[in-house]
Structures are given as C-alpha cells and as structure tokens.
Symmetry: C2
Subunit: 516 residues, 2 copies
C-alpha cells in the first residue's frame, strides 16, 4: 500500500460498509445518539482438529484503545463517502448524516468495561462491554472484533505451546508467514500468551523486548558458494558474536557435519574464554537428533549448551518430541530430564497463524438499548439455542472452589451480587434442567472480571505492561484444573447464569416467539 | 499500537533479528556488497485437510514494492540497534556497521524479476528473483515473504471459492476475523483471486472498488428492543435505501418471519416504483432455506431478487449447497439452475484466514553469489530431497499443449531457450528416472513467466490494475486442465527442469556430499 493510503485504509474506514449504512438509518430514525450496549464475546474455544483448547487468553485491548483514540471521520473520509453511489446512481450517504459524522464521528462518547489482557477467558462471557451512542457503537463493531479476535487466538495458542514445552524458553519466529502487518499484533499476543521473545525486530523495539534470533542456512551457503565450507562459516559467526554464538547445524548433515563443526568452534571459543550459547536443529527427526546432539555436546564438555528446535512446531509436536525423548534418551545414555531442560523452542507458522483453528469466532451483539431513561434488554434468537445471546447489562464473576481453583464463570444481572447469596446457583446457559449449586463455604473467592476501562472516551484504566499481563496469565493458568488444560479433549469449564439472568432470557425468548 | 510507534514497527525493522546479525557478519567479512541472488518460491500447494489446491494465484507484489521504496535505516532505527546488548552486556552491532546501514541501508541496489500478480503459479517455481548486495538482499527476506506469502494464500482461496460458486457474485466479508491490519492485504488478494467486492470500506476506497454490505441482526434487534418488530425494521431500511434494499431475514425465524416480512416490504417498494435487491440468509440449512425462500419470492413476483448466503462458507460448503439444491429444488417446484444463478456468496472467516491451510510455505533461498565477475551457484541440501533447492540464475517458461492448455512450467538455465529446442525434455526435479519429452509440434506456445520489475531500485514495470490482474487470473485458470482445478485431490501439474539444470543440480549435490 502507498504510505499516503494508510490513513484512509487504517483509520475510521477500517470497518464494514454495513456499519455505515446502519448508522445512517439510525440517524434517519433519530436513534443515532440513543445509548446502546453491546457485548463482545466468543462462542467456542479454538478447535485445532486433532486437539482443542479448554481456555483462552484474552489479548488485544491496548492496541484497540490506541486505534479508537485516533479514529475519526476526517474531511477526506467524509468526502469519500459522499462519492459512494448506490445501484441506481443515487448517492448512498446524504449530506446531513455526513455532516453529523464529520462533527460527531469519534469514539469520545463510548464507555467500555473489559476483562484485562492476559487473563484466562471462556466462551459466552462478555470480554468487552461497550456502551455508547448507537451509531458510533455500531460502527465500532468491525474494528473492535478485528483488534481482539486475532490476538486472543494467538495468545491462546502461545499459552498452549508454552504449557506443552513445560515452560522452557519459547521464541516467536512467525513474521514471514503472518498476515502482513498483522504479524506485529500476533507477536505481541504471543508474548502475552507465553512466548518469551520474538524474532520480530520492530515490534520488539516498540514493546521494549530484546529481539532474538540465530542465523539462516543462507549464511553457510554463501561460504560454500565462495569455495569455503560450513566450518569457515561457523568460525566467522563465532568471531563476530563470540558471546552469543548459536549455530544452525543442518545445512549439510546434522550429525556428520553440523554438530561436529559446531563443537570444534565451541572448543575454540572456550579456549578464548567465551561460553557458546548452543545449536539449532531445523529439520529431520528433532527428538532423535536432539538426543544425539546432546550426547555429542556432553562428551565435548558443553552440557550447558542449549538446543534450539524449530521446523513446524506446535503444542502437539512438542509434546510428541518430549515423549519420545523421555522414552529413547536413556538408550543413548542421555538423561531425558536434563535434555528436556536444555531445549528451546522456535515456533513460527503454527503459532502466528494458529494452525488448525485460524480464527476465533468472537462476536459483538446488541444486548440493551436505552428507552425513556431505562434500559430495554435486547435478544436475538437463533436456529441453534447455543447462539441465542444473554441479554441485558451483566456482571461477570469468577468463582473459585475451596482449593483456590477456578470452578465457574458466572454471569448475572447488574444489580446482583453473589457475595450476598447463601447458595450460588450456577445455571447452564441453555439447558433448563442443568444446574449446580455451590454453598457459600465451598467457595474460597468470588472475583469480578470486568474492569472499567473508558468512560465517555476518557481512559480510566492503568494499562498494564506486557510483563504484568504475562504474570496475570501465568497465575490464571495455575488456577485452572489440570483437566481444563489438557491439550486434547479438555474438560469443559462451566460458564453459568444466575437464576435471575436465566429467567430474563427465557422471558425475552417467549416474548419474541409469541410475537412472531 | 501508538501511531508514533508505527514507523518503527512497520519500516525497515519489520524483519527478523537474524537478518541483521547476518548482515553484520557479511559486513565484517567484506561480503556485504557482494552481489547475491535469492529465489522466492513456495514448496507445496495449500492442503486444507479435506480438500487440496492444485494451483495458486500469485499476489502481493505491488504492496511489497511500496514497502521497499520507503524502507530505510533512519537515524532512530540505527540508534535502537546501537542499544541492543548481547548476553554478556556487549553491544551486538558495532558503529562501523551501523554507519554503513545508515548510509547504505536501502533497497536501491536491488534488482527484481517476478511473475505478475493474478497469474496461476505452482510449487518450486521462482515467483520472485532478487539480485542485490548480499547484506540488503538478506535483510529483505523476511518482509518479502511476509508481503507475498499471505496474499498468494488468500488469492488462491478466493479463486477456489469463485470456481466452486460457478463464477456467481462473491463478496469478501472477513475484516472482523482477519489478522488485524493484515485484513487489508487479504481483501486486496481476495479481489485479485476471485472476490468481486469486499465489505472493507477503507481498502475499497484505496483500490477504487465500491464496498458492499447488507445490514446486521443488531438493526432488527434495536427495533425489537424499542417495542417495534422486524417488519418495522425492514420498512425503515427500505425507506432509507429504496434502491439498494437487501434484507437479512434470520433474526427471528427465516421462513415464518423474515422472508414473509421481506416480501411485504418488497411489495411496498414495488408499488413505489423501486426494485428490491434481495435477501440474505445467515444461519440454518442454507440450501433448504434458499429453495424455500426462492419459491416464496417467485410466488410473490420477485424472481430477480438475489439470495445472499453467508455463515462459514468456503469452497466445499458452497459445492455441497449447490449439489443439494440441484437434487432437492425440483421437489419444491423450483428450477435449480435459476436458483443457483441468483445466489450471491458472502464469505468471511474461511476466506480471509484460508481456513484449513492458514499459511503458504513460501521461502527465499540463496541460489548464487558473484565470485570474481562470475556467478557461483549455491546449493542447500536437506534431509528430504524435495527440499533441496534448484541452484543458479534461472528462467521460467510455461509450456502449452496443442489444445492451448498449460501442460508444464519449465525451469532452465539463464542461457537456455526452449524455443530453440527440437524436443523439450521435462525432467522431474528430484527423481532421476522420471521425465517426459514434448516434440516441438506438440507445443502451441512457450511463455516466459518472469518479468523485469526493478533494476537497481528503479521500477521498470507498468503496475497492472486490480482489474487487469483479475482478467489475468481468469485467463490463466481457463487454461488449466480441469483435473488440476478439482477441489479435492487435484491432478498434479508438472513443474520440470531442463536437462542442463538437472545436471548442474546433481553436480553441486555431489560436490557438497563429497566434501562433507
């Protein structure tokens, strides 16, 4: 894209056409400044086909807020809309509406509550609650979803890979396979979810993280094409980076050439007083090669050297590699736990694109409209009951059991407070006969999840650092039952309604069904 | 992201750290201005799990060129690199290298050939050939792949969906599920590949396409929450958009409420002299509902009204819907061909994220380095023979058979010309015993695919319009065998080497194996 086009393509017009046509309709009906409330939530965990998520990690809020702050209908945006023609050559947008947009088309009237980034989240729980003048709250939909769906998807994938790798160092390498500029939001989300560093230089700069990397095959190839060999290439690298020497050993043959050459160079480094970092394996049977390489490194006196694995890794592949190492390493005289402890994972494509589940199905649904000073709850039925929304202005609490583990997320009405309930009734969101009751003494903590973020355009919220979000994520994942964290077929975490919210939902459904 | 951070995150530092550390190594060795050649190609077609691509549509070049033109090491980029510390607290980048970057760190020295956007392309064929000073050609890798991999993936998916929908109108609706800003590159690629319009307003603006859309459930919900009903909502919409009236009919109940209400409003529009556009179905059994809705619209005298389908569509779902309509429509007295002819497809998530195959495995490999005035070809072996690169400076030709269908893409050496060959030997890239020979009279056309795009930073190429690319894609897809276009298990298109290129590759492999 031409740099001059960016402000048009990434500003307020970074939305769907129908948001603008609906906004004009609301304007025409005199409803455009009527306060409305929308819930943002996702409907189901990512299902990667052969494995499934049992929790998600919330991400994306801060960059959404940055976008909202700058987005407004500038003169040139309004002029573009003025030029849009309908099917019969009549203008789509009229002058009065465009004048209103030019004057009022900002998110300064929007109030927002949200669950913070880094927190564990579940389906059908409002992650973001937007209250604002109907026209602008409607126009916000597309960009809000765009800024939140993808980061939550990637933070979730990163958390799974981090868990599967038993917390060992995880590097995000996906820039080349990502969706163009989206790569930066993906790298940030990966850091929130569980990656420790990224190879992406620009986003590392912006986030204050040191970028990480090794070298590519091309470096060895250059030396070979010029009549030198792998050992010369490794020596040159060690010479320039004596204290950060991590060598890629599979350009020719990992065990016959790469690892022996790396060890020769490491020995030279050691004699010169430097400590080599390690090697990277990027092809072949990574479990087998890492066992053999570990043995060779150990025998040469480099038991501390890291072994970085890359090449189409994800949570399942890492789990398989670790399982294979546990089984086979002893046969080669290698201690499996020590080997697993020196592994580092470089994960690219399958993290940055969340392979197997390439989108989160986050939606943004109208739940209430102000009507004569009071809020009228809104409902939307669906051919499938699970898709019927939970109406009205709601609270969200996380309920912890006696062990301190999260046992359910509870949605209730605005004026309810489970702290005051002797028994907490957890109602299944769609099945009448499915509920469970928690006595107050079975509950160790009831935690409200939504925080006030913006009031009428003004930021109320102290934005946490990436490090804070990472700690948050770590603490939340620790408080999940291990069944919920299982990589395959996880236990289903309960998301429940209070009895009063259940009743309101049924009333509204009946009312609509009665009318139609 | 803060707007002030964009230039840092999306400029020259939109790359991987190792590109910069390798560039410094080349600088240190005096190789940084040595001319090198890299091929960009992908290794395999997208495999969506239950279905597979047999061809790809090339896309992304123009926006890559825009990026390259503006990318340079500014003062602040160099200062950031100056602050990077290695493991022992020593600076990673030295002053002399940084001064060189500041002075010379642009792509002004790069020469590029490429296959134009919109063309059908196949694995292992160089799509982009970069020649330039080693350091900058290396730094280019990550961003080049980022700008080309994803658009080619999405253009390919769009072409498949377009083919599956038998060329009926296809609307791209994916902004809310895309990877943040990458959505714009995705929408552009979708247009090149086969989408006719996108709902994305900003990118439509930039590309000069009218954005398209309908309305959302929330519009009907607003009316309901305020004590009115679906019919009132539809009437309000028809009132504001009498000539562009397309109504979403599944907010309450498609056949009981939505379609009858839409027909009432359409009748009112007709009486007022307007022609309604149609309806949109967004849930339920879209084949069944479209048959029933078509029947109702026909009986009310609206046989021209479009039926827009949306909700998790992709090429397989569309194929299934059409198959079901062909089988079941006659039972309801609906002509299947007429119904299929009035369908419009709104495709979101599964197009913009290429669901099932969320990344294209495009790579950028060193194939030659200049050495004393001559080019030294470079090779990289691999544990899997298919991953061994095709070395040297190469030509790419597409060979058409007597019927005018593309029968193979042929890679040959720079000084070869198949026009001069009496028999064209098509050698399998890795299997010695697999080849075929085409006599000159079996060949109707030999077409070179690479065009000169940039010479030492200067654009030589007349960038085609999106419309030109779409025509190109259409013509190329027409010239494919139908087996190659099959949605599932397509016939494998031949990508072959000339005998001389085959011989060179074997020589280099032997030389490396002999050395190691």
């Amino acid at each position: 894209m031409k740099p001059s086009d960016r402000s048009a393509a990434e500003g307020i017009l970074f939305t769907d056409e129908y948001q603008l046509t609906m906004a004009q309709l609301y304007y025409r009906m005199g409803l455009h400044e009527r306060l409305a409330q929308f819930d943002h939530f996702f409907r189901s965990y990512p299902d990667y086909g052969s494995h499934q998520a049992g929790y998600c990690i919330n991400a994306g809020l801060e960059w959404l807020l940055d976008w909202m702050k700058g987005a407004r209908f500038r003169h040139q945006d309004v002029e573009y809309l003025r030029g849009q023609m309908g099917r019969t050559g009549r203008r789509i947008f009229d002058d009065d509406f465009l004048a209103w947009l030019r004057e009022n088309g900002t998110f300064d009237g929007v109030t927002m509550r949200a669950i913070p980034e880094g927190r564990v989240v579940h389906p059908n729980v409002p992650l973001t609650v937007v209250q604002g003048p109907l026209a602008m709250a409607q126009i916000l939909e597309t960009s809000l979803l765009n800024h939140l769906n993808y980061p939550t998807l990637i933070a979730t994938k990163a958390a799974r890979i981090h868990e599967s790798g038993r917390g060992r160092l995880l590097l995000e390498f996906g820039l080349r396979r990502a969706q163009e500029r989206g790569a930066n939001a993906g790298a940030r989300a990966a850091l929130i979810g569980g990656a420790d560093f990224t190879s992406n230089v620009g986003v590392s700069h912006v986030l204050g993280y040191p970028p990480k990397g090794t070298h590519a095959h091309s470096m060895v190839q250059v030396f070979m094409a010029l009549g030198q060999d792998e050992l010369d290439a490794f020596r040159a690298y060690a010479d320039v980076y004596p204290d950060d020497c991590l060598l890629l050993v599979d350009t020719i043959d990992t065990l016959e050439s790469g690892v022996p050459n790396a060890i020769r160079v490491f020995e030279e480094l050691r004699r010169a007083g430097h400590r080599p970092v390690g090697i990277r394996l990027d092809s072949g049977d990574l479990a087998y090669l890492s066992i053999r390489a570990a043995k060779m490194l150990d025998e040469a006196g480099f038991p501390e050297a890291s072994i970085v694995l890359s090449n189409q890794l994800d949570e399942l592949v890492i789990w398989q590699i670790i399982t294979q190492i546990e089984k086979e390493a002893p046969r080669y005289g290698v201690d499996p736990d020590r080997l697993i402890g020196r592994l580092v994972y470089g994960v690219g494509t399958r993290l940055i694109t969340s392979q197997g589940a390439s989108a989160l199905d986050g939606v943004y649904k109208l739940v209430a409209v102000q009507d004569g000073g009071a809020w009228a709850p809104a409902i939307k039925l669906s051919e499938t009951p699970e898709k019927t929304i939970n109406p009205g202005d709601k609270h969200v609490w996380r309920v912890y059991d006696r062990r301190g583990k999260a046992t359910a997320d509870l949605l209730g009405l605005d004026d309810e407070d489970p702290h005051e309930m002797e028994h907490i009734l957890l109602h299944h969101p769609t099945e009448y006969t499915t509920y469970r009751t928690l006595a107050r003494d079975e509950v160790s903590e009831i935690e409200p999840l939504l925080v006030d973020v913006v009031r009428e355009g003004e930021l109320l919220y102290d934005l946490p650092s990436i490090e804070d979000m990472r700690e948050r994520r770590h603490a939340d994942v620790e408080r999940l039952d291990s069944g919920v964290k299982r990589l395959i077929n996880p236990h289903i975490y309960h998301v429940s309604l209070t009895e009063r919210l259940w009743d309101l939902k049924q009333e509204l459904i009946e009312a609509v069904k009665g009318d139609s």
